[in-house]
Symmetry: C2
Subunit: 371 residues, 2 copies
């Protein structure tokens, strides 16, 4: 019996609405999960996150194993207590970060050796070590070490990555000693639908509490993503949650849901905030633009976040122009709230059987770009 349960509450086409129950509480799906890579959401406090309506929050084992070290987090009471977040949490294994960040990466059948981009130390990750780290951290959902691969890639290389990913997923499950954490195997396979299907079928044999799709948003053409993702999700068991890793924009969120995805994470809301961009239902605002200077309206007059109920576009434009650090916080609060609300509204549309119309209408608004 897994520590995590999933209840599918409604479907509308391939889109699904459900509920995930973890030892640290529930989260509704489709879920957008804010990312606190180093156990901090850049410029949002956990109080801000709670107010924004966050369900599941992410952190990253690759970063935390290096600083402060997973033993420090464990000794300080685990990741929940460390971050001050008592809701559901998920940690990524670091497979993607080894691929995208680390220098001098050398893979072998047993694991991967790499040079830390932080301090130049040579580090080693194996499936067993990735589980050990994440058991010390103590998130509710943990991820196995996998083999991510670039796009485009030779078919043979993708096949080898799939084989490694499957073997490591099995070893990861075998390495688990805690019973209160749910491990989600990750489907790889590049943009080869047949390799995705093969990988997914092998992983389904593990009877895992949930499954993830990795290796998307690595440079492939947009439409390719959704077709391959849909094929992948189609192989996964209906009664388990499906997590698309590291994607994406508001439009991507809707596309992933349409392809049968239940959970997504992305750093975009806080990254866009740092660059002074604000999401709205009528396109993304570049807050530095002069046209906002005397605009009394909030960023989004349909949003109930602290930023929109307190400040004008003119004020945010002033802070953006001056590069005042507060604007990062204020726009992060708004952008995260925007994504969480998009997830809630998507859920309601699925429950009401109107997802297709909701998606069309929402995408049309996002494309207007005259906010």
């Amino acid at each position: 019996m897994s520590a995590l349960s999933f209840r599918l509450e409604a479907t509308d086409g391939f889109a699904r609405a459900g509920r995930i129950v973890t030892p640290h509480g529930e989260a509704t799906t489709p879920a957008f999960m804010p990312v606190g890579t180093r156990a901090a959401m850049k410029v949002m406090t956990v109080q801000d996150l709670r107010t924004a309506g966050a369900g599941i929050v992410l952190a990253n084992a690759y970063h935390l194993m290096q600083r402060p070290g997973e033993d420090v987090v464990r000794d300080l009471g685990g990741l929940h207590r460390f971050m001050g977040w008592d809701g559901p949490m998920l940690t990524d294994s670091g497979g993607f970060q080894v691929w995208s960040l680390a220098e001098l990466r050398r893979m072998d059948a047993d694991g991967v050796t790499f040079k830390s981009e932080i301090d130049g130390n040579m580090l080693r990750l194996t499936p067993e070590r990735a589980v050990e780290i994440q058991e010390a951290l103590g998130a509710d959902i943990i991820m196995p070490l996998d083999h991510c691969i670039e796009y485009p890639a030779e078919r043979e290389a993708v096949e080898r990555a799939v084989d490694t990913t499957i073997a490591w997923a099995r070893r990861s499950v075998a390495a688990q000693t805690r019973t209160d954490q749910a491990l989600f195997p990750i489907v790889q396979g590049g943009m080869h639908d047949d390799l995705r299907v093969r990988c997914a079928e092998a992983l389904v044999e593990l009877d895992a509490p949930g499954y993830a799709a990795g290796g998307f948003s690595v440079g492939e053409p947009g439409e390719r993503t959704w077709v391959t993702l849909a094929r992948t999700n189609d192989v996964l068991p209906t009664e388990r949650p499906r997590y698309l890793m590291g994607v994406g924009t508001p439009a991507d969120f809707l596309a992933a849901v349409a392809a049968g995805t239940d959970m997504m994470d992305c750093v975009l809301p806080t990254r866009n905030a740092r660059h002074k961009y604000a999401f709205t239902p009528r396109g993304t605002l570049r807050m530095r633009n002069l046209k906002h200077a005397r605009d009394e309206r909030p960023v989004d007059d349909t949003c109930d976040c602290a930023t929109c109920t307190t400040h004008s576009r003119g004020y945010l434009r002033h802070l953006s122009q001056m590069d005042e650090p507060l604007v990062w916080t204020l726009l992060s609060i708004h952008n995260v709230t925007f994504m969480l609300r998009l997830a809630r509204e998507t859920r309601a549309a699925i429950a009401g059987g109107t997802f297709a119309a909701f998606r069309t209408r929402t995408l049309a608004g996002l494309a207007v770009d005259d906010a």
Copy 2:
């Protein structure tokens, strides 16, 4: 009849406890006033400020006249609405900033011409223009343009600065057209007690709703500050609030109160936070220190701020080491809360007639440095 009233509620030696009533609500004294130079508290939202217990909040006319321009702030509903702060506000005139920041400064009897350090534009401030700008901004308390002077300085130069400051204060009062703003003349005079007294006596003739002491903390020896400040305050009317500009540390706050000061502002709580320092009753913590790495205790176990009730020293040390931007916010929240609480406790001690013992005990704690 002034828009601002002050009620002296208790005295203990030269220390005073009182209450300031403005069109935007009350503030108790002694007051510590957080500084939002560009109409933003660096990394604290106005919700954070309210939770921390802030009374009066500062902004700066010198910065706001340049960006976004006082007309923009006025058109967006004034500084209160612009910042989203509905409590009492004070704006500084820019006299100190012209002296400390601007290039190519040229003073004449009528005002000062200077080159903006922001965009190189040549700008002009006169007493009348400083009032005009601050009337457009709309703070409850406004400051006249004055002539700040370096330390040490020739006596003749200080005398001329005092003459200019007095003349400009008179012109500032005459220039006021709004009746809902209180203008506090600024006493200058360097570290010459007799010049301070002469300046104060001349300004008292204006029957202003409050008075400020400027030109302190400009490089003079510490003890000199408090002796000269006490002499200055001694000349000011008992029934009007006294504001020491731009000072200082927790110990400075207590010294200023002991010298009869009612209001103080300083950027130190947020600046220290940026450099990863945390105030505590037992000295200042350097959060980067390795000794905090596995410390489960909060920064200050007597503090009820969101940072101390949520996070361990170990977590803050991790964020400090990684230079995660959240640590600036978390330590700002704590440091500002610390200063506001120090002000409240100081007030209670004065009301209870135990200020001297409170100050001795508090200073002893601050000096321990084994937090």
